[in-house]
Symmetry: C2
Subunit: 310 residues, 2 copies
């Protein structure tokens, strides 16, 4: 499979086999402001380079193309509707475009669903039947596996796990225009912004805040504690609704590792209903930066080769 | 099927056919403080009376017994673990007891899951593939239908929809010991309690508050608005996670009808992510007080006759 991932900051492409092994992996900046035509041309060029690096030929070794992108999507038509991380993109027919570019069947999926498929098939979630994946990155997204399959909701746009509300009168959420969403507290953007606002120091990153919190800087400690509490609250709601065996946390914010996941895990296990809360595991993702490409490939494999329904 | 429902205040029994038609329906008070032995004896006596009223014989016209009860449950062993609405009940083997009492195969399910099955098979949710059921009653429970089937989570104790958090620093929640759960705002108990506290008038019911709010009494109006806002917030999280086509609201609190559901529907559709929020329907349950018995029967039908896995 050729996996393509359209992120807000990065485009990625790679050749992935049916066992999840990555035979090539390439990344370039998205530059979404160039508009869909220019960006898709660069994405497909990147895909051709990934095929060449893997020594793979469309139609020969490579059977299909998978594309992951943030929603909302129209899965039936294979179009991006209005991805918030790509301002101005509307109704972009990526499946038709990719199919034409590579002469292969193509499948589109939400990047959170694709990443959940990747972690479930090849990563931290192997062997689970009920699993939740969250990516804590520039924004917060995710995917859910219920009774062994990735579930996408009635129209393919469910699992917007960044928009579980933790405080209905809380911080405004840029992603959805509402208030108090998980994303408004635990995205890298939000962590950096809250610390920068309090300290009057623009240009901070979430990694800076994590480091300052680890060093005991009081404002960073407070922002970090709020981040952990909001994450735990959102995960508690998710556990109470879905009772997963496992929550997998990925994305750049999880580079802070157990400094975030450790206290969040303890709080979720204490706060979620018994017995679901006591049983749930909370672990870091297994596939790192390649999860998007592996997930896009996994979705193409499932849908276009194995015939799993969307 | 013989359906049995073990509620905190009422026991119910009825004979229900495979088309969801109710051939008999009887209710008595639970009196859970009498302990499991006495209560189960009265429940089974009620079941026998329901069979007699329907002119049905175990093994003849009636193939199985379904039992619905609030969780946590052990579905594999068929036991109630520690239902919060039945204080002091621990590890009660209701499936074995009912099987012995009626000489029939028996199945246990969470009452929320059973009610979701009932509404999905015979009520407001007929024809949907992705549906959420919430009961707003003394407590708040629910069930979820994903891709056409009731889903119960990894251990059969998911869909605790009353414990979706809407305000992580909000009101203490008696049901789970946490804070700011949906149940702490939209249960009949909580609606009555908040109004009674503010007015200094003990003994109010949620129906009294609804009536006073409709008449414009300022405290009742404020409590009602908070109830609607909390409900909308919890439903928004649920829509963002599950993207159901339909949310079905049942339980005593929904007797207030569109005074509750109307503004909650409008708020959810505005607050949930596009396109899921715009598409979701929010409707009142179709089966009224019989949903528990019909649901217990539906679960027995699915699991013991049709062979649907739990």
């Amino acid at each position: 499979m050729l996996g393509l991932d359209i992120g807000g900051t990065k485009l990625a492409a790679g050749v992935v086999d049916a066992d999840g092994r990555v035979h090539s992996f390439l990344v370039v900046p998205t530059q979404g402001e160039q508009g869909p035509r220019a960006v898709l041309d660069r994405l497909f060029a990147l895909g051709r380079k990934a095929l060449a690096e893997a020594g793979a030929e469309p139609g020969g070794d490579v059977a299909a193309v998978g594309i992951g992108c943030g929603g909302p999507l129209d899965l039936d038509r294979g179009t991006l509707l209005a991805p918030p991380h790509l301002p101005g993109w509307r109704d972009v027919p990526v499946v038709a475009e990719a199919g034409a570019a590579f002469g292969l069947p193509a499948a589109l999926d939400n990047d959170g669903a694709a990443a959940a498929a990747a972690e479930h098939c090849y990563g931290a979630g192997v062997g689970t039947r009920d699993m939740v994946y969250l990516t804590l990155s520039t924004g917060v997204g995710g995917g859910i596996v219920v009774d062994g399959e990735v579930r996408r909701g009635a129209g393919g746009n469910g699992a917007e796990l960044g928009h579980v509300i933790v405080d209905r009168r809380g911080r405004p959420c840029r992603g959805c225009g509402g208030r108090g969403c998980l994303e408004a507290y635990v995205s890298g953007t939000s962590i950096a912004e809250r610390a920068a606002d309090e300290l009057g120091t623009p240009g901070l990153t979430a990694a800076d805040v994590a480091a300052a919190a680890a060093a005991g800087e009081p404002v960073a400690v407070r922002v970090w504690q709020e981040t952990v509490a909001a994450l735990a609250s959102g995960l508690t709601s998710i556990v109470n609704v879905l009772e997963p065996e496992l929550i997998v946390l990925g994305g750049g914010v999880t580079r802070s590792g157990e400094a975030l996941i450790g206290p969040a895990r303890a709080a979720v296990r204490a706060a979620a209903m018994t017995p679901a809360g006591r049983a749930v595991r909370v672990e870091r993702a297994g596939l790192g930066d390649r999860v998007g490409v592996v997930g896009a490939a996994a979705v193409a494999q499932q849908r276009l080769v194995d015939g799993v329904p969307t």
